[in-house]
């Protein structure tokens, strides 16, 4: 059985009992989650949040939909349609837009669990954003090659290797191991 709201397999078969009326709902995991979260607050109907958990006008929504991730190129509209983000940078690029949505799903907006373990004494990186830049650089190479700007493509390739080398060097000083990692070859673009 398919989910009533998308093409996925329905995993949840919810039977609603409302004032003597029985209603069955069949949903995939994600839609069931938002469905159940919604129905939690259904007893206070007045301020029902939009799909993103914030009150939005059509204009605001369409403006928001135009936002594009600098790294992977996904628009917020595409994300809303698919329910899947494009790359790790989306969490930075769309931070403001995602916040109410995440608050709605998890009831929290701050990670308190485990963090990357680095060897004692080394600085814990704030995030892996520097490495995620590589995604945008690869996109840049593809565009440069399309426009036959091979010199620019080469510069970007060097930049990627620099980023990857930096990460790798950091990794080695952090745990003292030598897991030699090949840098990106030109063929892999």
């Amino acid at each position: 059985m398919r989910c009533q709201q998308c093409d996925k397999q329905a995993m949840f078969h919810i039977t609603e009992l409302e004032t003597g009326e029985v209603r069955e709902v069949h949903l995939c995991e994600d839609h069931a989650r938002s469905y159940l979260n919604q129905s939690e607050g259904a007893s206070q109907p007045s301020e029902s949040p939009g799909p993103l958990g914030v009150a939005q006008t059509a204009e605001e929504l369409s403006e928001l939909d135009q936002k594009v991730c600098e790294m992977c190129g996904i628009t917020f509209f595409e994300f809303r349609n698919q329910g899947r983000l494009g790359c790790p940078h989306d969490y930075v690029q769309f931070e403001q837009e995602l916040e109410p949505l995440i608050a709605n799903i998890h009831g929290a907006v701050e990670h308190t669990g485990r963090r990357p373990q680095r060897a004692a004494g080394s600085e814990l990186p704030e995030s892996t954003e520097s490495l995620t830049r590589v995604i945008g650089l690869r996109k840049g190479i593809r565009e440069a090659v399309e426009q036959e700007e091979y010199e620019r493509a080469g510069t970007l390739r060097d930049e990627i290797n620099q980023v990857l080398d930096n990460w790798h060097a950091e990794q080695q000083t952090a745990d003292g191991t030598d897991s030699s990692q090949p840098s990106e070859s030109p063929s892999s673009s």
Binding site: R84, L85, Y91, A108
Partner: protein
Amino acid sequence: MIKLDSLTNSIGEWLKGTGPESDIVMSSRVRLARNLAQYPFVGRASDQERGEVQQFLRSRLLQLPSRLSLDYVDVGGLGELDRQFLVERQLISREHAEAAGSRGVAIDTHEQLSLMINEEDHLRIQCVHSGLDLESVWRQISAVDDEIETVVPYAFHSRWGYLTACPTNVGTGIRVSVMLHLPALVITRQIDKVFRSLHKISLAVRGLYGEGSQAFGDFYQISNQTTLGKTEQELIAQVADVVPVLIDYERRARDFLVRETEQNIHDQVSRAYGILRTAQTITAEETMQLLSRVRMGVLLGLLDDVDVSDVNLLLVRTQPAHLQKLRGVELDTKDRNIERARFLRNYFETGSAEAN
């Protein structure tokens, strides 16, 4: 390359039927969702990038410092039957089996660990133990995760935690689940009430192999729904704390059935056993349902010539892909049902699967 056929003859961790509380708790499972920082998420990656992710992760997983003994299966290169077989063993998800493009899974020899590459996230690590054993599952999986993290740059953000393709998994990326066999709660019609109260404390419930219909054979998975704002230990406790309550309900319901309706329940169990031993054609769904009844009957001492381990073994071996692999031929649904009935009859007659 792993020999999938050798798995056919083993039972797999989750159906071993051992471990604490294994009369009710089938298995305990934890999975972690992780992504590489330097690639787009799977859904947005090009074929080339997906191939690179697979290669990158595969080479690192197979050379972990601890020399974890993993076999790698190129899921994209498998036929439909083999993919279905891995789903039935719960080593890969249905989505992973049905997706397209470069993807794979690394499996340890005990079938406790499975690491899916290019599922919804670049890496999904799963660890399963028999019975109620979440603490040791967590110890094992977090050690593996730590080790992978020394050689793989996981996408991480100081505020959002581990970054995942779907915001529903962000933060810890953890899903903790316990699979329970709850036939007495189903028979006494208390199961819906139990589920409603679980939803209220934001736990999810789903059936085993929930193939479009209600849970087969009274097997249910209880898992956490949120992944952000709580630590992994807190999320594990959220599931672990409710399990003893459910075990207690189920035990009380089983006691009630024996005490108040003994003839009736004995009759139901015996009839289920009778059908399994004599049917000429039988579907996977009906088999599961009847095996569930028989399993409960054995545990209640109502059937003494069957062992729980037989029932567990039959639960997996009568699944469509397992049946076909045991027979060594692909069969359509009609022939599968005939073959399944024959397999069951022989099993109960001779007391072993080998005689088939």
